[in-house]
Subunit: 458 residues, 2 copies
């Protein structure tokens, strides 16, 4: 596909230079909105409105939705009121809301002024719902049927109203806006008798989310049940909208990215990497770096506290990085596993005991294996190969005992902190690598010097 697009782009470049707009239009109408946006990204700010105006109304709206907010704003500022009116009213309500949420106030005012009264009412309704709720991402454009309709009447209704609906394939059977059941177009098409009542055909066991359900939970349920759309109901069980699979897919991707960013000690960003300036990167990275640097004061204080021991046995210093890194790595392994299981909904607070028990057993295995390997490595490499006379069996024992205990403590901290964080209403992803590392560093040093005191300096 990439090859295909590159060719199209260079062809378009030539046509654009020669100002052969009708030829450009003929090519653009064969393309998919996402690909048209990629082409638009490559043209100048002057050419963009020119090219955009070549698109037929529906394709123009579909392409507009796929654009970055900056490009959308640029275009809107260049639009006449009539042009804006046409684009806005061609949009699906949820897409219009997305755009409104990204625009500065004066642009929003213009958009709402140009929206049809119905559209404006629906946009305002969705804007009322809290950020990241199912209500805030749903669309109000779904097909509703009445239970007493026949299959043939249902088809008529779909034909009459379907063109503006985001999906027609799942239809919702309502009475006074109460959701009674759902029926798919497949059910309707495969039904042998066109006079069958919808009531008889519908599935009355509908799974719904509330307008206040978290958007990630909504997307995950939709994926779990393989739904094309998830119906959203208000507190009175009245149907208010649907969340469609394409939006759910985007949400799951965004949430995964957000988790990954938080796990690596960054504040999550809305912008793609290429659109982020170095200043953006700096802003998202520096808070955690600062916090972690300052908290490393404790590790420094621990080392200072054992300065005399270290001065007497400088060889001990050489093993500090290895112990700290191994602790950090095993802690982050277990925290990341648990964080992911939490976000996929595989475990929650009530599973804490079984998680801890599993991690204890795993950490004993990991710790013992590492300690044995470490003992061999110290004896073979550090003592025999590198002829370091300070590396005694006792020193190796101190290092290996610290190793086992550090790995155990690290996995224990790594698996419990995310669960506790979630229980307390924080994002468990915060309890990943950088945070765990800082705690484990301090713990491993305390263990190290404690064991050294016991075995070496008595």
């Amino acid at each position: 596909m990439a090859v295909h697009n590159v060719t199209v782009e260079s062809t378009l470049g030539v046509l654009l230079k020669e100002k052969r707009y009708s030829a450009i239009r003929d090519i653009l109408v064969t393309m998919n909105p996402a690909d048209i946006v990629a082409v638009f990204d490559g043209v100048t700010q002057e050419q963009l409105p020119l090219l955009f105006r070549l698109l037929p109304k529906e394709l123009a709206a579909e392409t507009f939705v796929e654009m970055e907010p900056e490009t959308q704003e640029l275009l809107i500022r260049g639009f006449s009121d009539l042009e804006l009116h046409e684009v806005v009213n061609e949009l699906y309500v949820d897409d219009a809301v997305d755009i409104v949420e990204e625009m500065p106030a004066n642009v929003v005012k213009r958009i709402l002024a140009q929206a049809s009264p119905d559209m404006r009412k629906e946009i305002n309704e969705i804007l009322r719902y809290p950020e990241n709720s199912a209500g805030s991402i749903m669309t109000t454009e779904y097909v509703s049927l009445r239970p007493e309709m026949t299959v043939s009447e249902a088809f008529d209704r779909i034909k009459n109203t379907g063109v503006d609906k985001e999906t027609i394939y799942t239809c919702y059977v309502t009475k006074e806006r109460n959701l009674l059941g759902l029926v798919t177009v497949k059910d309707l098409l495969l039904c042998p008798d066109r006079e069958t009542k919808i009531e008889a055909l519908m599935n009355p066991h509908v799974i719904t989310v509330s307008t206040l359900t978290d958007q990630e939970d909504t997307a995950r349920m939709l994926s779990k049940y393989n739904f094309l759309a998830m119906p959203v109901v208000d507190s009175g069980n009245r149907m208010v909208g649907i969340v469609t699979f394409d939006d759910a897919m985007d949400i799951l991707q965004e949430e995964a990215t957000e988790d990954i960013e938080i796990m690596a000690g960054m504040t999550p960003s809305d912008k793609t990497y290429m659109r982020s300036s170095p200043l953006d990167l700096f802003r998202h990275r520096i808070p955690w770096l600062m916090l972690l640097m300052v908290s490393a004061t404790f590790t420094g204080m621990i080392i200072t506290g054992f300065e005399n021991a270290l001065a007497a046995q400088v060889v001990l210093t050489a093993f500090i990085p290895m112990l700290m890194d191994t602790g950090g790595n095993s802690g982050s392994q277990s925290s990341v596993t648990v964080i992911r299981a939490l976000s996929l909904g595989e475990i929650d607070f009530k599973d804490m005991a079984s998680v801890v028990w599993k991690e204890i057993r795993s950490s004993v295995l990991c710790g013992t294996a590492l300690a044995c390997a470490c003992f061999g490595k110290i004896m073979l490499i550090d003592r025999l190969l590198l002829h370091n006379p300070d590396v005694t069996v006792l020193v190796a024992l101190v290092v290996c005992c610290t190793m086992v205990l550090t790995v155990m403590v690290a996995e224990l901290i790594g698996c419990t902190l995310p669960i506790i964080a979630k229980r307390m209403g924080f994002d468990p992803a915060v309890m990943a690598s950088p945070f765990i590392t800082t705690i484990v560093d301090a713990v491993s040093l305390l263990l190290y010097f404690g064991i050294a005191n016991l075995l070496l300096f008595r």
Copy 2:
């Protein structure tokens, strides 16, 4: 929803004790396959086949697909040939393939023996495609139409063949298996004239993937274009199957989990956390822990090499953890950002120069800010507050210069290694936190002692 299920589960528990199977059946048929599986997870191995046999044929097959492989195997081993025959032939081909891939050889033999000849042929065809390819995850059950059909003939064809198709909403127009275009059921339903030829209605600009396209790329394209299904063609551009949105969603989720696991230094696992034994966790975690522990030998060697310097200025040791952690954290921030951008297809090898330039500028900002804060912190906390006489302005300078350089080198390494790894055909996620940390540790120590030598020991 959770509340609802808990209630259902306890009701079922009571009914099961009282052996009121028809009442149980009445409840189960109202439930969604994913929820039935949750109920089945709570019953004994003896009760499971009993409960499963209560389900009507179609629901039984849908529920079977959602089960864990262990449960599926258990059930299959208890099935009579007739029962197995019924379940297998009710499955969609792609689901049958998924099951076959997870089962031991003798179970596979029984499954294939009970599959209808058509089903067996299609299963075997899909099994030929390489793992993780679009071919290996597609289903061959799509609706194909001929270009010369009318809308009304198309509806007849959908009615006659649609019941076994995984989706009927996107229909593919083919001639001698060549893909000419696609038409949606929405197009068909909204078409005012039922005698319109499909040829005239279809969209001839079809985006396809090849059977050998990576499954993640396939899923990502489907998500990009908001498709319900992505058509898969062979090397001769003949239509062979479709990948549906629900499978694409699962793949994107699995790939995100896999990336997260690899980034945390684990070999990726197929099993969910709760199904993994401590031995499984150990197996997935120990390889990287071992490798990283052994590679920490270098850091140890560097420290040993500077033993005399450290013995003369033990205070330097106190700042080692902070420098190593800050380097590790900033390296992992940039590597994780770049790895995610690579997997989302936002950047590739050709963007390397602009990525490096962006990271250099960001690292100068981060490094300088950290160094300034660090200088203040050392002077205020370590020198004034903790009255440590060894902490001189010169020592603080050594630490802060090392800080700036370490952060710069760390971000540079963090952003380039994943891109290079991908270019060389490795998984870029390997180049995340643990790996970067090990390299940055060594670099930061060398910088530290180098700068200390320059400023302190001349």
